[in-house]
Amino acid sequence: MSDKTLERTIEHKKRSKSVELVMRLIKEKPLGTVGAVITLILLIVAIIAPLIAPYGMNDVHSLNALEGPSSKFLLGTDNLGRDLLSRVIFGARISVIVGLMSSLISTIISTFLGVLSAYIGGTFDLILQRFVDAELSIPNLLLLMIIISMVGPGLWQVILCLGISNGIGNTRMIRSLVIGLKENVYINSAVSLGASTREIIFQHILPNIMAPIIILFSMTVPWMILNEAGLSFLGFGIPPPQPSWGGMLSGSARRYMLKDPWMALWPGLALSVTVYAVNMFGDALRDLLDPRLRGGIGRYGRKIKRKGTIKSNPAAPEGESL
């Protein structure tokens, strides 16, 4: 087999892997598929928000303030006469940006620290883990509130604070994965063959924990979205004129909710549906990528071996059918 054909085979396998994953998602996880579709819709809405929103997010129609749903304002208006539909649509942007960016930061930090802590071990591990213990003992929301009151509210502050504080806490999970992996014979043989620490981490450890990392990322996203909403609700998140779903439920809006209960309904509904969808999608992804993480009752499906090639597990009869 020439190099070119080999390359093509690998390429083909890579493509078929993602296609196969989507097929299995649709076939085996109907609820996960619904979640994935809603997540996708949310992403698209966030990207093209200015195109589909009927009005600008801060356009004031003061004559129509506190109105219920009508043909002019599909979801009604708030106390300043801003169109709620437009604000919910633009609010999706905040949730998507915060959810994705802070989860990315968090996952990078927890992977970096987790691998380091597990691989170096010894005193370094002991001290770092006490630090993680400490971080986990301080309620996240309290810590975030204080940090944001220090650095001032704003989108990037919220993303960074959420990412860093959550990333330190999640270190624990990556660490335990790497510790389990370290015991494997092939790591030992790589060490005795003279592989450098960097080679072992990048070629043997990271590819093997890629699936859990992806799962961790997908599980962190809804958590971040909820945290941002909670912070904005308390007034320590995204500052007011920006439409954040959490912020839309708080502050001056609360005083008008008895007059116009629609104001209390839509942002929360958008938030809940989003968190529900991303959770369902994440759950399905976890079951498909790594059944071991299900806590004992998982079916043993296929394991991702390394660098995009899939080796089917002989113990799994359903693995052969695909």
Binding site: D133, P139, N140, P261, A264, V275
Partner: protein, 320 residues
């Protein structure tokens, strides 16, 4: 066992040290900014022409190097139990905390109770009738609990009953000792809302654990002895399935406290969470530091207790 307890106790010391370090440096890390912010927000207008910067700096202990500040702060707490004094009221912080903690404590206990009352029976039922229609409903309910943020649920619970039936939850706080029924009336809604947010995860854990235990050999033995379902489930399966659920409580508490801060604000409960948000908004940093420190240290010790209780609950575990 004793060696494990001693080791675990010793490991708590660096954890508490790091907790104090994190809280201290989060507030002091940005030099000068506290003062600048205070001056920007409170100086100038509102009749306050010029705030006493040097005075506040001295009061906060900001006029000495940072390690000396940390040293002083810790010695004061450890040796004299002095958590500092409020910047604006001038009273010792400990007085505020003494007054506020029972509210948060009661809310937390009631919320935990609600969580377990929902999670354990529904989780067990869901596992016993796996893939049944009841199981699907229960699991959807669990996801609902996870997906609906407590502050939205609380908002709905306040807004809609008031519009439909003219019902508003009581907003005047009455201590339990003075009027137990009035006190419970006030706490029941917040506790249910807060408890539901934790119920989803617990329910799912309970179901998973129960499914795992139900597949064990000793359960099959129990069935083949001809025991009734109730006995097999209650006496043999539930006991072992509950162990991880108990430890889960330890890990859930920080999230519960975060939720309590939000809930106390919505339902107007004068607890530690309210104290903290008020202090953070008014930049009363001695209160902020003290409240977060106390909550976190308490959580460190509760975690220690849950870790140790593992050994007593599960005799299969041997500590080395």
């Amino acid at each position: 066992m004793r060696a494990y307890i001693i080791r675990r106790l010793l490991l708590t010391i660096p954890t508490v040290f790091f907790v104090s370090l994190i809280i201290f440096f989060v507030i002091r890390a940005i030099p000068g900014s506290i003062i600048d912010k205070m001056e920007a927000e409170f100086g100038g207008g509102y009749g306050v022409t010029k705030i006493d910067i040097a005075g506040i700096k001295h009061q906060l202990g900001l006029d000495v190097p940072i390690y000396t500040q940390y040293g002083r702060w810790v010695t004061k707490i450890v040796l004299h139990g002095d958590l500092g004094t409020s910047l604006w009221k001038g009273t010792p912080v400990i007085n505020d905390i003494k007054q506020r903690w029972p509210v948060t404590f009661e809310l937390g206990i009631l919320a935990l109770l609600v969580t377990q009352i929902i999670a354990i029976p529904v989780g067990v039922y869901s596992a016993l009738r796996q893939d049944n229609i009841g199981d699907y409903i229960a699991r959807s309910f669990a996801i609902f609990c996870i997906a609906v943020p407590s502050f939205w649920l609380a908002t709905l619970v306040i807004v809609y009953p008031s519009i439909w039936w003219g019902y508003t939850p009581p907003i005047m706080y009455v201590p339990f000792g003075v009027n137990p029924i009035g006190n419970l009336k006030m706490f029941i809604l917040p506790a249910v809302v807060l408890g539901m947010s934790g119920a989803g995860g617990n329910m799912r854990l309970m179901r998973t654990m129960m499914l795992e235990v139900l597949r064990q050999d000793y359960i099959r033995t129990a069935w083949s002895k001809g025991l009734k379902e109730r006995v097999v489930v209650m006496r043999h399966a539930l006991k072992n399935a509950l162990i991880p659920v108990v430890t889960m409580i330890g890990y859930q508490l920080p999230v519960l406290v975060g939720g309590a801060v939000i809930i106390e604000n919505i339902f107007n409960l004068p607890g530690m969470g309210r104290l903290l948000t008020d202090a953070t908004t008014s930049r009363d940093y001695p209160i902020v530091t003290a409240v977060v420190l106390i909550i976190s240290v308490v959580l460190v010790f509760i975690n220690l207790l849950t870790d140790l209780s593992y050994g007593f609950l599960d005799p299969r575990i041997h500590y080395r």
